[in-house]
């Protein structure tokens, strides 16, 4: 779907990421991991085609449709929009006159049912909980029927039960050959949900698998501190050593 061939990516000189060599296939579930400012957003902008490489090449298969799932607190809650209006908004926004077709409404209804927000469809987004807001953002992305989902810290600010419920929903996004990019500072999330992990470190991108990450010392190299790895009931967990 996208091929990075020795690509330098950024907004000028020096580039944020150097010599990126990667191939991303349709249907992959990819976690993006690394400290703040390491180039995750730059990489995603290159995936979207919003920035061109300053050196090397980025080849993108034409036509994939992208949908972005923002953090719950990124959405502008001053707008008096209901959950249903938020889910329908992209379809309306992309049509002249802002009128949703029957097909758009059917898709929105299905997306709300799948995301578990149908019972709160007519409530204002600003009046529902953080977890429900995040589910609404996922419903909005589902309703766009994209080929690729970009999720930015989808569990930020959620309590543990809301996080668990949301992750079950996120795990289902890659069904049907959809590609999922998941950015998270909570390392256990991509380690459990993604089949492939991209580690961003000092201007380079290291492609790995969750199993390799747990076996190797790569997290230690990236974050500069030792980590404790745990696995219980098939669930992986990593925390920096001494974190108590």
């Amino acid at each position: 779907m996208i091929r990075f061939d020795n690509a330098d990516l950024g907004y000028g000189s020096p580039p944020v990421l150097r010599g990126v060599n990667l191939q991303i296939h349709q249907g992959e579930s990819i976690g993006l991991v690394g400290p703040n400012g390491c180039g995750k957003t730059t990489f995603l902008r290159a995936v979207l085609g919003l920035i061109a490489p300053s050196a090397g090449r980025v080849e993108r298969r034409p036509g994939p449709r992208f949908a972005y799932v923002p953090q719950a607190d990124e959405m502008n809650l001053l707008w008096p929009l209901t959950v249903e209006e938020v889910v329908l908004l992209p379809a309306q926004a992309l049509r002249w006159g802002g009128r949703a077709l029957q097909e758009d409404r059917r898709r929105a209804k299905e997306a709300m049912a799948r995301s578990g927000v149908s019972p709160i469809a007519h409530r204002l987004l600003r009046e529902v909980s953080g977890g429900q807001r995040q589910r609404t953002a996922i419903a909005q992305a589902l309703a766009q029927a994209p080929d690729v989902y970009l999720l930015d810290e989808p569990t930020k600010g959620l309590d543990v039960v809301a996080e668990r419920d949301l992750l079950a929903l996120v795990a289902g996004l890659s069904e049907g050959g959809k590609t999922v990019f998941l950015v998270s500072h909570s390392l256990h999330i991509p380690l459990n949900l993604s089949k492939r992990i991209l580690l961003f470190h000092q201007g380079s991108v290291i492609s790995s698998t969750p199993e390799e990450i747990l076996r190797s010392k790569r997290l230690e190299e990236v974050y500069g501190v030792p980590f404790v790895h745990m696995e219980q009931k098939g669930y992986r967990w990593v925390v920096p050593e001494g974190a108590r």
Partner: protein, 271 residues
């Protein structure tokens, strides 16, 4: 005697009604983006453009100058706000100060400086003619057409700009088109009513509406009705009690926003 009995007041009222309602609908986007003061800076730049046009003796081109200054100012603001070392608010303040200071400096060299300054900052209702009524009417219709076609797109850009960009909306283009409408409404309103009332129309009806109603469509309707009512009441009472019209309507709109805040306590719903 009603103010409607005087032809010049009638003309100014109709022009103000059109320009004010157009501006109040557009102002929903300023109020919801928490960028109210960029509206004030833009108003000041429009005033500066008008002053430059008048001082250069290009009276007919004053509106073109105002419009150009607003568009240039909004573009400059977008560029300056990219800096991560300063807040966007600092640049809004910078443009406001620049616009206000330069307008006063330019006016100080104008032979009719004081009277023109009053016109720029508080408007000149007496100067409104049939042409302005047609311009305001056309602006009102164009604003409604623009909103009918692209309202949801602009809402998406204000609600979740990254989501819109990822889905393929050309953010720069559509923000630019919105700014053209914004600048046109602001320019005309400043020509008729000056900086104070134009800024009031831009921010205060939407602020009250966000408190009073719970649906986007009702918010648009609220802004139209609220603005029209405040304008009619303001014209009538200022005429009866012999007050300047622009500041009178501005005070009414500000009191209305404060009243909405008192009526709707935090957590209260609207309709």
């Amino acid at each position: 005697m009603s103010f409607l009995a005087l032809p010049f007041m009638r003309t100014a009222f109709v022009a103000g009604l059109f320009a004010g309602t157009a501006l109040s609908i557009i102002g929903i986007f300023s109020a919801t983006r928490s960028v109210a003061f960029s509206g004030l800076a833009a108003s000041q730049l429009a005033a500066l453009g008008g002053v430059v046009g008048i001082v250069l003796g290009l009276h007919l081109s004053a509106s073109v100058f105002s419009w150009s200054f607003v568009v240039a100012g909004l573009m400059a603001l977008a560029f300056l706000s990219r800096s991560r070392k300063t807040s966007a608010d600092s640049w809004v303040a910078t443009l406001y100060v620049l616009g206000a200071a330069l307008a006063v400096l330019v006016l100080s060299k104008s032979p009719r400086g004081e009277s023109e300054a009053l016109g720029v900052f508080f408007g000149n209702i007496l100067s409104v003619g049939t042409l302005e009524v047609w311009e305001a009417g056309a602006l009102f219709v164009l604003t409604l057409v623009g909103l009918a076609l692209w309202f949801r797109r602009w809402v998406w850009l204000a609600f979740d700009p990254m989501g819109a960009e990822v889905a393929g909306v050309r953010v720069g283009l559509w923000t630019g088109i919105f700014h053209v409408f914004f600048a046109a409404a602001l320019t005309l309103s400043i020509h008729i009513f000056g900086v104070l009332l134009s800024f009031a129309y831009l921010i205060l009806p939407a602020t009250a509406g966000l408190l009073m109603v719970k649906r986007v469509r009702r918010l648009v309707l609220f802004c139209i009705v609220w603005t029209a009512t405040a304008t009619a009441v303001g014209f009538d009472l200022s005429f009866r009690w012999d007050f300047p019209t622009g500041p009178f309507i501005s005070a009414l709109l500000a009191l209305g926003a404060l009243a909405a805040r008192v009526v709707k306590k935090p957590g209260d719903g609207g309709n």
